[in-house]
């Protein structure tokens, strides 16, 4: 522990363990799931955005945060739109009235159009905002933690799955390059390069190219020792993988049960426990039988603890706040009231903001989109 603290110098430039970012982001997401207070939700988004802006590396996968923001806005718009069009009006503050459509009696309860009230719009907005916030938190983790580094940290039992995913990720840009190459070739033979006929003509060579490349890659990986294992551990490995995936699924259901209101905790708690236990056994088991070692695994030092705990802390304050001041956390909309500002939850969010300052700065990287690929994309566009 002493060494870990010593090496965990906060100012030392390095990659943070991707798991720490995920714990932090999931903590924020869990906090968001506990509240319908728009001020708190907007604050959570702001915290995520500030941290992303401060610690986002310059890499292709890190540019996805804007996409998640857009997705969040779309979710809110759709949620409010559905409320306006289909749901029965709540409350009495009518804003405007849409022409309504009489539906047959067997569809009672569903209506189309009619009066639109402030109350129902507020409910839909809060609900949509909550979902959008959760999505944006996931997006933040996505752009802060490198997917390939995360895959490196997955347990040995899932190693093979992880490598396939990494290989698939590197294949995509090559496929784009392939498509442009085949299109160029069609141009050189004086054929059409746009439209369905061109796509049909290009599909075959592109697929052939991809297939050929996978065979070459497989041969190369085999030549480099991929898949070496102890003589009699193949069956054991498979068993460990099954145990791990099953355990993780169990744990997921259990967690969902605990988080979602109204499900019996008597069922979900043992499920979570059994799931975690099974995963743990699988991980230690496969760690023992695997030959493979890891190059420069991301360490879990003080900054990792601080950052993941800041997310967990935020989730905790929200949980306690719902228990202490439930009305402040849910903002009643009938009649419409101004949202309150629960001090405890705000404090939690303030702590969750600290990674923007305490996370180690990124190493100087020279990452940029491959020149050829970016050129191809530009040409294709």
């Amino acid at each position: 522990m002493k060494a870990a603290l010593a090496c965990g110098n906060l100012a030392h430039a390095r990659w943070l363990h991707p798991g720490a970012w995920w714990v932090w982001a999931l903590g924020l997401a869990a906090a968001a799931s506990r509240t319908l207070n728009p001020i708190l939700l907007v604050l959570i988004i702001a915290v995520a955005a500030v941290v992303v802006a401060a610690r986002k590396p310059d890499a292709p996968w890190a540019r996805s945060f804007v996409f998640f923001i857009k997705l969040g806005i779309a979710i809110i718009v759709i949620r409010v739109g559905i409320q306006i069009l289909f749901a029965a009006a709540l409350g009495t503050t009518t804003l405007f009235t849409l022409p309504s459509l009489a539906l047959p009696s067997w569809m009672a309860g569903v209506r189309l159009g009619g009066a639109v009230t402030l109350e129902s719009i507020l409910i839909a907005f809060y609900d949509g905002l909550r979902l959008a916030t959760i999505i944006i938190c996931i997006g933040a983790a996505n752009s802060l933690a490198s997917p390939s580094r995360l895959l490196k940290s997955i347990p040995a039992a899932l190693y093979e799955v992880g490598v396939s995913v990494v290989v698939a990720l590197t294949f995509t840009p090559q496929l784009v390059a392939d498509v442009t190459r085949v299109q160029s070739a069609r141009h050189l033979r004086g054929r059409v390069t746009k439209g369905p006929r061109a796509i049909a003509g290009a599909a075959m060579p592109v697929l052939e190219g991809a297939l050929e490349r996978s065979v070459t890659l497989a041969a190369a990986m085999d030549s480099r020792g991929y898949g070496r294992r102890n003589a009699n551990s193949a069956a054991q490995q498979r068993l460990a993988a099954v145990l791990l995936i099953g355990g993780l699924m169990c744990a997921c259901f259990g967690t969902y049960g605990l988080v979602a209101a109204g499900s019996p905790w008597l069922l979900s708690t043992p499920m979570l426990a059994v799931g975690l236990l099974a995963s743990l056994i699988a991980i230690t088991w496969s760690a023992k039988s695997a030959i493979r070692s890891r190059y420069r695994p991301d360490p879990w030092w003080l900054p990792e603890w601080l950052i993941s705990l800041s997310g967990v802390f935020a989730a905790g304050t929200f949980l306690i706040a719902t228990w202490l001041v439930p009305l402040q956390m849910t903002t009643p909309s009938d009649p419409p009231t101004w949202p309150a500002l629960p001090i405890l939850a705000v404090l939690g969010l303030a702590i969750a903001l600290t990674p923007a300052f305490i996370a180690p700065p990124l190493p100087r990287v020279f990452i940029a989109l491959p020149r050829a690929v970016s050129a191809e994309i530009e040409v294709a566009a």
């Binding site: 033979r189 190369a220 070692s293 190059y295």
Partner: protein
């Protein structure tokens, strides 16, 4: 280190073995060069070393291959990974990780080395191959030469005793090739690694080899010997050896340095001689076929071409040279309308190639791309030729006729995929020529070509130029440029840095000068046949120093 005992290899649907009854013993710290025509079985021989043949390719292997005592029959490639490092022909196709550092570590991770060993070896390898600057870079963003070094480094980290390389310099510019070869030599000399390397470009590698294995093909027995012995008789030889053979030098020089030391009397003969002129063979009635005016092309931040102006006349053969990534391919692509100009203009016979479609384009300008296979999508040669006739709207049978004149041995029913690299190039050339474009562009035509095919290509190009075609070759092959080009344009970083008659440009350049020019500098003779034409073989031979004088 490597032992082949009565090895025969037969692929599944072949009636004849590809290699028959091979006996071979290669020792520690040897650099062995494997040469032979495409399709002769070179790659099969290389892949048999780490068990990819037959574990991965199928087929049957009789006899046995022993690598440091391990039998490849019982050890699949992954169990030989700590002994044999294999670098495939296209290094980019074998990358697994996304950054250089992780790529270097992948093999060691598979072997389960401890993390401090891995860390140390990665650092050592980064230094050994000069990759430290690139350690965090994504592998796909590197240039071809850098990728080749990363691929070599990635197998070196496992500390193999044998390194197998399939044409490591074929895609590289002369400078990058030089870097790779000196790195390999260092490995052989300092670490005692056995290097087995297949390479067509003998002029680049022969001086480094300890032994040469010729794979004659058709399951004929291998011919093995020292480079000196082999080059005395071999039907294919780099220019320095050819000159040495004609001049009767003994011992036969293999490097420019050795040849230059014995070439004094030969140089003396050239004083006062008229250097050969490489004139436009089409005569005086030359028309301007391609015109680029202040052409600039940008991809995002990257400027591929800067303010390039170029005029191309009929009958000219222009060699476009320069580093990997200097903008050669971009220029060719712009001339054929694949790339839009960011600024400036490019026209071919008065028209903007971007505005041309279908036959209008085909009848003006044709490009044989770097991988000629890209052009081919039919399932047989005959179907491919028929499609080309249709595309070009010419009489049925035109393309097949052209193909017969270029390579009569290519059968109608063959699948284009089964053709050799060189045959594919000639088929693509026939397809492009079907519409009779006055302007012909070739991107790296000699990549992966063996000598006989290269000689045939040179003939074809000369004839086309004589018939009035303007030809532009983007190439790293200085010997090809010396042999066929009337003019050389050198690009660096997207700008034209030299443009002039071949001899004037290449003789002065240490990078682009062919071997003969280096031996005879300052006299501007570029090829063996130029020298023979100037002085005649008899006089040449009579001035050969005796073997005693040669190295004193």
């Amino acid at each position: 280190m490597i032992r082949f005992e009565h090895v025969s290899i037969t692929y599944t649907d072949h009636t004849q073995p590809t290699l028959r009854d091979i006996n071979l013993q290669l020792d520690e710290g040897e650099l062995v060069l494997v040469v032979g025509r495409t399709g002769s079985g070179k790659t099969t021989l290389l892949q048999a070393i780490n068990g990819l043949v037959p574990h991965f390719t199928g087929g049957t292997l009789s006899g046995r291959v022993l690598i440091d005592g391990r039998d490849t029959r019982t050890h699949p490639p992954r169990d030989l990974a700590d002994l044999v490092g294999v670098v495939p022909q296209d290094p980019a196709s074998a990358f697994v990780a996304d950054t250089v550092e992780e790529e270097l570590a992948f093999g060691m991770e598979c072997l389960g080395l401890s993390s401090d060993v891995m860390r140390r070896r990665v650092e050592e390898t980064l230094d050994l191959l000069g990759l430290n600057e690139l350690r965090y870079r994504p592998v796909m963003s590197l240039s071809a030469g850098q990728q080749q070094r990363v691929a070599i480094g990635a197998v070196l980290t496992s500390h193999p005793k044998v390194l197998v390389l399939d044409e490591p310099t074929s895609a590289l510019d002369p400078a990058a090739a030089e870097e790779i070869l000196s790195a390999l030599q260092r490995l052989v000399h300092d670490l005692g690694i056995t290097v087995v390397m297949a390479e067509h470009r003998l002029e680049r590698v022969i001086q480094y080899a300890d032994r040469v294995i010729i794979v004659p093909g058709d399951a004929q027995p291998l011919v093995i010997g020292t480079p000196q012995e082999m080059m005395r008789e071999a039907p294919i030889a780099p220019p320095v050896v050819e000159l040495g053979r004609i001049a009767g030098w003994n011992p036969l020089p293999l490097s420019v340095r050795d040849a230059r030391r014995v070439a004094g009397p030969l140089r003396a003969l050239l004083i006062g001689q008229d250097p050969p002129q490489r004139v436009n063979s089409h005569g005086d009635s030359t028309a301007e076929l391609v015109q680029a005016q202040n052409l600039t092309i940008r991809y995002g931040q990257h400027v591929a071409l800067k303010d390039v102006s170029l005029q191309v006349h009929s009958g000219e053969v222009i060699a476009l040279m320069g580093r990997n990534g200097a903008g050669k391919s971009t220029l060719l692509n712009a001339i054929v309308g694949l790339r839009a100009a960011t600024a400036g203009t490019v026209t071919t016979q008065g028209a903007d190639p971007r505005s041309l479609k279908g036959t209008d384009l085909l009848a003006r300008v044709g490009l044989v791309p770097q991988t000629p296979g890209d052009l081919l999508e039919a399932t047989s040669v005959a179907a491919e030729c028929r499609a080309a006739d249709r595309d070009a709207k010419v009489d049925p049978g035109t393309t097949r006729e052209l193909l017969t004149s270029l390579a009569s041995e290519i059968g109608d029913d063959t699948h284009p995929r089964d053709l050799s690299e060189g045959q594919r190039l000639l088929l693509a050339l026939a397809i492009v020529l079907a519409a009779q474009p006055p302007v012909l562009l070739l991107d790296e035509p000699t990549r992966g070509l063996d000598y006989p095919t290269k000689i045939r290509l040179v003939d074809v190009l000369r004839n086309l130029a004589q018939a009035g075609h303007a030809i532009i070759l983007a190439t790293h092959d200085v010997e090809l440029a010396a042999g066929v080009a009337t003019r050389v344009v050198v690009l660096a970083d997207g700008e034209v840095v030299a443009d002039g008659e071949t001899a004037a440009v290449v003789v002065a350049s240490p990078m682009f000068a062919p071997q003969i020019a280096k031996i005879l500098a300052p006299y501007p003779w570029l090829t063996v046949s130029d020298v023979v034409n100037s002085i005649g073989p008899v006089i040449l031979r009579s001035h050969a120093p005796t073997s005693g004088e040669a190295f004193t």
